[in-house]
């Protein structure tokens, strides 16, 4: 089972490049779909386009099927049941924010990524996106410093409060800001149950059991079970800021080794965006710290 891989520490470089390629492909998929979104398109249609784009490029299975959230659904307001995460017939309007999220599996490699954008013009969205930069930095710094996941979670909480936002990743099942991913090796048939691939779920549940024995969890939240430093392996990290009717997130893989941590790939749309807007992003960070 995959947890041996995940918990055993340093990953073979060959494996990493497989994960990196798939993460690139997933980002390329959501970026392409995002660029093509037009007013009137529904969440279901957007999710279908992502799925199509990826299956055409060799994706065979899903950790979870693609999600698309439009308008105030990006902030998960009034989400009471997990069913509300699934794409609806909400239509995209001019200036509306959206989030695309997908987790493809190809040849056993997994990616789980999120992409925030908007149609037309939305300065508030730019503001939230700028402010998200500090969180990517903070998570990396605190994990490198060996802080417990619980403390990192609370660090993110403190920062987003200070920025004037509220925590929307707490709406995800288990309040998670991140979860472990690893290579999927399973003999189960490829099938999707409630939006999640059963092979990936098998991997995750395997991890849940093994980690629980070590009094740890492959799910990263603010509970006592997360009061331990990050377990070596790969974590799909997804801080999600909310302000009024808008939510903004990124999701990508953080690699944790025995003595270090790094983002699997820095050549991603949101990172390139921050680099382009470096003066603004840096300025906002200053102001909010």
């Amino acid at each position: 089972m995959s947890h041996t891989n995940v918990t055993a520490g340093t990953l073979p470089p060959g494996d990493l490049s497989g994960f990196r390629e798939l993460q690139q492909l997933a980002h390329e998929a959501v970026e392409t779909v995002a660029e093509g979104l037009e007013p009137g398109v529904t969440e279901r249609e957007a999710a279908r386009r992502i799925r199509e784009h990826l299956t055409e490029r060799g994706v065979q299975d899903w950790f979870h099927t693609p999600f698309a959230w439009f308008g105030d659904r990006t902030a998960f307001r009034r989400f009471r049941t997990p069913l509300q995460f699934f794409p609806t017939d909400r239509r995209l309007e001019e200036d509306m924010p959206f989030i695309l999220d997908c987790a493809p599996v190809r040849d056993g490699f997994v990616a789980d990524i999120g992409y925030s954008g908007y149609l037309g013009d939305n300065p508030l969205h730019d503001q939230l996106m700028d402010d998200l930069y500090a969180h990517r930095q903070l998570i990396l710094d605190q994990v490198r410093a060996g802080d417990t996941l619980q403390d990192v979670y609370r660090g993110v909480d403190g920062l987003l409060r200070e920025q004037g936002y509220d925590n929307r990743h707490q709406v995800y099942p288990g309040r998670v800001i991140a979860h472990q991913v690893g290579k999927v090796r399973s003999r189960l048939p490829r099938a999707i149950v409630a939006g999640f691939g059963i092979r990936s779920l098998q991997t995750l549940f395997g991890d849940l059991v093994v980690e629980r024995l070590h009094n740890r969890s492959p799910l990263w939240a603010d509970g006592e079970i997360s009061a331990h430093p990050a377990t070596p392996g790969m974590w799909a990290v997804e801080p999600h800021l909310g302000f009024r009717d808008m939510g903004v997130k990124f999701e990508e893989i953080l690699v944790v080794t025995e003595d270090d941590a790094f983002w699997l790939d820095d050549d991603l749309p949101h990172v390139r965006r921050w680099e382009r807007r470096a003066p603004t992003a840096a300025g906002t960070t200053q102001e909010t710290r």
Binding site: E93, M96, R161, G164, D166, F243, R244, D245, E287, T288
Partner: protein, 576 residues
């Protein structure tokens, strides 16, 4: 008013008496009177404004010196809107006019303003005591401000039913009984009573306004929107209208502002000062050509709120975090410009910055509310930079807990200074300004559920908050007849981080107790955002006390009906 009118012929042949005065080169204000008035209702206001503007007023068909149609259909609101444009075209063919309407004059102007074809003829519209009938129809049917408010409005609208009965209102006017009742109604809201110059004709013809329009518009309202900037001015003691039926127009207007002023339905006649000041500010802003505020709202946000706080100015202390910050955002979402005040300048600036995304024109200021001189300076600065606020939220406060026997003088001093003196200073700095500006403003003080729930755990804190509650209630009594409302907010357990910053006497800065209390607040899970929605919704109705959470409601009820139970509870030492 010039006594000899110019006559303008309406599209259906009626002749309207038009009177012009004031500066000929200045922007034109077109004043439209209501029922049962004629153009003389504007005498006092015209006097105030004629040195700056060209003032044009006319007798609405059937009133004053204008002719009266024979048929009821001659009073349909479509025709009245057409009349307004006919007059505007006659007196100011090249330049759009600024319309001011009162009562039925406001109703018919609303109708013209929400007619897309007329938009380019109208530069702005100031509505005094008169809603758009279709907007009101929607408001009555959908009750966005609650059924209670609809019922309140029904009581105030009962005369409409009376006016719609055939013959009886005519008899009332002709017998003099109607005149006596009207004279009584005119006295509501206080102020000097000026005798109106009306003729019997004004009383009788205008009844057709009600009979021709009301039923149809209220039962089958249509959607009427406008791009013309509108400000609605509502007197605090209007005998015929509550705020909400006027402010709800915010849903239908791109650029809407709503302000209140102290007075009754006809105070525009006897005491025109506050209305004149608002008209000046509004007209000058539009004429300056400055970019009008554009609000970045989703369609959903725009649909969610009426306009009770639209275009207003609010000062919020303690706006850098917690409830203060959440209330600032909530107000900004509803169209209020927020002046965020906090002792932490960066936090205040951050709040104002985000507020500015929702409603442009927000600002911030660093201030220690415990210092009276600072607060005086703050008030002077707000007035000179942004004008007199419509709303002042004295929210800044700190937490101090611990047994009395272990609370030192320093702790007492600090908590009294911020929690009590902060509110006193805020009220002292701003209340006179609100009164002087003509009333209509609101003061909201953040007290606490601890104000009425005694406990050995938070003596000093509860003491200051009880004082804030009583200060609010007494000030409310004092300012009631000056048109300024005072509300005390009693939140309860809101997860704001107040505990992180609290000083627990005899427990040190980091303690297990703090961790446990924090956990309790987290588990209670009542967010400042949720509290802010409740607070702002409640403030719209000017209540005396706003208990926010269930425990605050329960505590308030127990303090009234079972005070003994609370006294016993005060002895309980929670396992912290």
């Amino acid at each position: 008013m010039t006594t000899t009118p110019l006559y303008v012929t309406a599209t259906d042949g009626q002749r309207l008496a038009v009177y012009t005065e004031g500066r000929t080169d200045a922007p034109t204000l077109l004043l439209v009177h209501g029922y049962p008035d004629n153009a003389t209702v504007w005498d006092a206001l015209a006097e105030e404004l004629s040195d700056t503007y060209r003032i044009v007023r006319y007798d609405v068909r059937g009133a004053g010196r204008s002719t009266a149609p024979e048929q009821r259909s001659g009073y349909l609101v479509d025709q009245l809107g057409e009349d307004l444009i006919t007059v505007a075209d006659a007196v100011s063919p090249d330049r759009p006019v600024h319309v001011v309407g009162h009562d039925w004059g406001s109703i018919q102007s609303w109708h013209a303003v929400t007619e897309p074809a007329y938009a380019e003829r109208l530069a702005s519209f100031t509505a005094v005591s008169g809603p758009n009938l279709d907007h009101a129809g929607h408001w009555l049917q959908k009750a966005p401000d609650g059924v209670r408010n609809v019922l309140r409005q029904f009581v105030r609208s009962s005369y409409i039913g009376f006016f719609s009965t055939p013959g009886v209102p005519e008899a009332a006017w002709l017998s003099g009984i109607g005149g006596l009742v009207l004279s009584g109604l005119e006295r509501i809201g206080g102020g000097p009573h000026e005798r109106a110059r009306r003729s019997t004709r004004d009383h009788l013809n205008g009844l057709e306004l009600y009979r021709a329009n009301m039923l149809h518009r209220f039962t089958r309202p249509v959607e009427r929107r406008t791009s013309v900037p509108v400000q609605a001015l509502a007197p605090t003691h209007d005998a015929f209208m509550i705020d909400q039926v006027q402010s709800d127009a915010g849903r239908w207007v791109e650029d809407f502002r709503f302000h209140r002023f102290q007075g009754g339905h006809w105070s525009v006649r006897s005491r025109p000062g506050p209305v004149a000041a608002r008209i000046r500010a509004f007209v000058d802003e539009i004429e300056s050509g400055a970019p009008r505020p554009r609000r970045a709202l989703t369609a959903q946000q725009a649909r969610r709120h009426g306009g009770a706080f639209a275009g207003q100015l609010a000062v919020v202390t303690g706006a850098g975090s917690g409830i203060g910050r959440a209330v600032s955002f909530e107000l900004a979402e509803r169209g209020t410009r927020v002046i965020a005040v906090d002792i932490d300048e960066d936090a205040a600036s951050r709040t104002a910055h985000l507020c500015g995304h929702l409603t442009p024109g927000s600002d911030f200021r660093k201030a220690d509310v415990g210092d009276s001189e600072t607060m005086e300076k703050l008030a002077a600065w707000v007035r000179s930079e942004h004008g007199v606020p419509d709303l002042v939220v004295n929210n800044a406060g700190i937490g101090v807990a611990g047994p009395f026997l272990e609370t030192g003088e320093k702790d007492w001093d600090r908590v009294v200074r911020v929690n009590l003196w902060g509110v006193i200073n805020g009220c002292r700095a701003f209340a006179p300004m609100l009164v002087e500006a003509g009333g209509g403003g609101r003061i909201v003080n953040t007290a606490s559920a601890a104000a009425f729930i005694p406990s050995r755990v938070f003596g000093p804190y509860a003491t200051t908050k009880a004082a804030v509650l009583m200060l609010s209630r007494t000030l409310r009594g004092e300012l009631a007849d000056r048109g300024v409302s005072v509300t005390a907010v009693c939140p309860g357990l809101i997860n704001t981080g107040i505990i992180d910053n609290a000083h627990l006497s005899g427990m040190g800065k980091e303690s297990a107790a703090k961790k446990r209390i924090n956990r309790l607040y987290r588990l209670r899970g009542y967010t400042p955002e949720k509290a802010a929605v409740r607070i702002v919704n409640a403030v719209e109705n000017d209540p005396e006390i706003v208990p926010v959470t269930a425990e605050a409601h329960l505590g308030l009820a127990l303090s009234r009906f079972a005070p003994k139970a609370l006294s016993r509870g005060a002895r309980v030492s929670p396992p912290l």
